[in-house]
Subunit: 180 residues, 2 copies
């Protein structure tokens, strides 16, 4: 296997529209924000639901389709996904990997660059606490984007990735997101 | 996570053209055979190479593209992939999973049913020995398909999956391939 690619700085020119993705087999989160103005604005978010009765292959096709759809409709300029994360065992890692592969192949096929952010870093930036729970993240995302209702957890995670990427673009990049 | 779906018998009417896939980030094997006649015939095989210098996301897009291309050009009716397999650690399982997800999302998106066969079962059926090495598999695949030259290992693995699926279709299904 190839050695890890070195960390890279994100694009110099701040991008305006960011797609966060939180892939999982049964509930992939997609979240798009716009930061053309000083205040980030929500563009679209959804959870791509794949019922427990669906075969894995059907879920993978659905995840790829929904990702392509969202990109076509909302034209993001860059994508952010969770980096290293926790999996309970090899089987779980494999299934999580499959969902990521279906999603990221669609994103890369659309020509977007993809960056990774560690989950702890996202929670730290959003909630101020690296081990924050999903609900705390969702509430802060709701507040930061002035959403009327609480976003579903998986969509909130995707929006959180996009928000943190937007924040990091404005800073000196001491620890820039890694491109994958 | 959903409970495992029950094993299913493969399609009753034997399918004529079978796509075997052996996904991996740097060298995905694709192998198509035809079994319209009594003797299986090779239709196409290739290794989708993604150089070590390519980003993971670029590889995933390439794997999905190449899989879609092969399906469009050669119109297989069904797909076979390795089932449970060995991964050294979570990181490896995740990366293998990503390659599988990119490949299988393309296959399922094209409307093909996907079946899994355990690697040991494929080796047992092809070489007569469940722990056979890659080279032994490639040599037997060359012989069974009367290929003039030895196929590359990854392509041979994909062709072996297709060959074993073809064999199993002709038997009583005491242990039918599992649909995914």
């Amino acid at each position: 296997m190839a050695a890890r690619e070195p960390a890279e700085t994100p694009p110099r020119k701040p991008v305006g529209r960011i797609l966060g993705v939180d892939p999982s087999l049964r509930g992939t989160g997609l979240g798009l924000i716009d930061q053309a103005d000083t205040q980030p604005r929500p563009v679209h978010f959804e959870v791509v639901k794949c019922p427990a009765g669906w075969r894995r292959s059907r879920c993978l096709a659905r995840i790829a389709d929904a990702t392509r759809d969202a990109i076509q409709r909302h034209a993001p300029e860059v994508c952010v996904v969770e980096g290293l994360f926790y999996a309970q065992n090899l089987q779980t890692a494999l299934i999580m990997g499959e969902a990521r592969g279906a999603c990221l192949a669609a994103v890369a096929g659309a020509g977007l660059d993809i960056f990774e952010l560690a989950p702890r870093r996202v929670k730290q930036a959003i909630v101020g606490y690296g081990a924050a729970g999903k609900h705390a993240v969702a509430r802060m995302v709701q507040r930061l984007l002035a959403l009327e209702t609480l976003p579903p957890d998986d969509a909130a995670d995707a929006l959180a990735l996009a928000l943190v990427f937007a924040q990091e673009q404005k800073r000196l990049h001491l620890a820039a997101p890694r491109q994958v």
